[in-house]
Amino acid sequence: MPPAEVLEIALRSLAVAGGATLLAALFGVPLGLWLALRGGGGAWGRVLLYSGLALPSVVVGLLFYLLLSRSGPLGFLNLLYTPWAMVLAEATLAFPLIAAFVLSGARGRVEEVRLLVRSLGGKERHVLPTLLAESRRTLAAALAAGFGGAISEVGAATLVGGDIRHHTRVLTTAIVVETRMGELQAALALGAVLLGIALLVTAFLVILERE
């Protein structure tokens, strides 16, 4: 595979996974914090959330395929076999991961923050933004986990993206193609690029969290 194509695929992986992580965080972080504020959402809340972590990615991919297919309810959006569809599917998979991480990390500090806010005459509505500001480390871990999940996603990505060369091919689906053709060395090389990206992004998040 020519280096230019490897770069193209790598950038696409980064963009799709990055977009998916941000989209998932948009919903997952508030949900995690909200559940933390309400004492962890109770047993049912946690069961629901943690089972979201066990969602098989191919099932999510299949569901989105059926949804976005031209004969499906959202077919008119023409999103199937585009990178946007991949962002949606990957975001769905990353969302419970991010929410669970945030919930788990924030739960420990909720009471303390609540006490502080109220003892200074603040209102309950001040607790969430304060908790958010206090959860930097948790947030970084959650985003890293979400991104890691998104960029290594292959089942759903193939089903809704179609692995179309120059259009929806990403590192993981490219690895599958190379392996399928028996080109194991090329597959490994792509795998190394994938790992490299994951490492870079994680390092970036850790640096951000320290500021």
Partner: protein, 262 residues
């Protein structure tokens, strides 16, 4: 912003979506054909390499505008159901039996492919099947049926994988397998597999046909592609694809080896 939305919405209409099987895709034939098609018409074709079954299912759901497959029995069904239309027999090549140099079942000496398979079964020599309902797999099952044998047992392995991967597995296990010529030349030979049964045999013929998906958004572009595939230039490209001097395909120019229309 509105322009972007428009482009996002129009994009899929301006491109043509073609579903094909992994063995066609991996041979590189499509790249060449579609490159020439683009030069001539400016139409970009998006290719999805999926299994034969999935390709036809996508056609059913109108998620693709055309298919290029090699499973005549399934194709006939699709045509009858109206899922696809106007098939054009584009190319043919042959399957062959590949296996280890040692050739424990003495496939080299078999007089027919059916006899070769019988020898493999009798010997219980390791055999790797695609096991994925692909065109190649369906051909393999058809052959076993004709031998009257049911391949079963620890010697019969199903990889559920693409042709290249299956060849890698066969090479690892010193097993026989049914493969198309193109993938064998690009992958199998490199790994020490030998072409053991290569006689011309009508049973081993592999026919690739292009179908339109009627009622799909890209039907118009699909017709242009069909016209291109029926042209002299396309035939030249098909005949010109070689590995180590061996042509991988023979153009059919619409003359189907396995009849598709009722």
């Amino acid at each position: 912003m509105r322009l972007l939305a428009l482009l996002v919405l129009l994009g899929p209409v301006l491109a043509l979506r073609l579903a094909t099987t992994t063995s066609v895709y991996d041979s590189g034939l499509l790249d060449r054909l579609l490159e020439a098609f683009f030069r001539e018409t400016g139409v970009r074709v998006q290719v999805l390499a999926v299994g034969t079954g999935q390709a036809l299912r996508l056609a059913e759901r109108k998620d693709v505008d055309a298919v290029l497959v090699h499973a005549p029995s399934l194709e006939r069904e699709a045509l009858a159901q109206g899922t696809t239309a106007e098939p054009y027999c584009l190319a043919q090549n042959a399957f062959l039996l590949a296996g280890p140099e040692a050739d424990p079942a003495r496939v080299r000496e078999a007089e027919s492919v059916l006899e070769a398979l019988r020898r493999i079964a009798a010997q219980k020599a390791p055999f790797v099947s695609r096991g994925d309902r692909s065109g190649t797999h369906l051909k393999e099952l058809e052959l076993w049926e004709k031998t009257g044998l049911k391949p079963q047992g620890p010697w019969y392995l199903e990889s559920g994988a693409g042709m290249g991967q299956t060849l890698v597995l066969a090479a690892e296990k010193g097993a026989y397998t049914l493969t198309d010529l193109a993938t064998f030349l690009t992958v199998g030979k490199k790994r020490g597999l030998k072409a053991l049964y290569t006689r011309e045999d009508p049973l081993l013929l592999n026919q690739y046909a292009f179908h339109l998906v009627p009622g799909s958004p890209g039907e118009g572009e699909a017709r242009r592609l069909r016209a291109f595939l029926a042209s002299e230039e396309a035939a030249r490209i098909v005949a010109g694809l070689r590995v180590e001097g061996t042509p991988l395909f023979t153009p059919l120019r619409g003359r189907c080896v396995f009849p598709l229309r009722p």
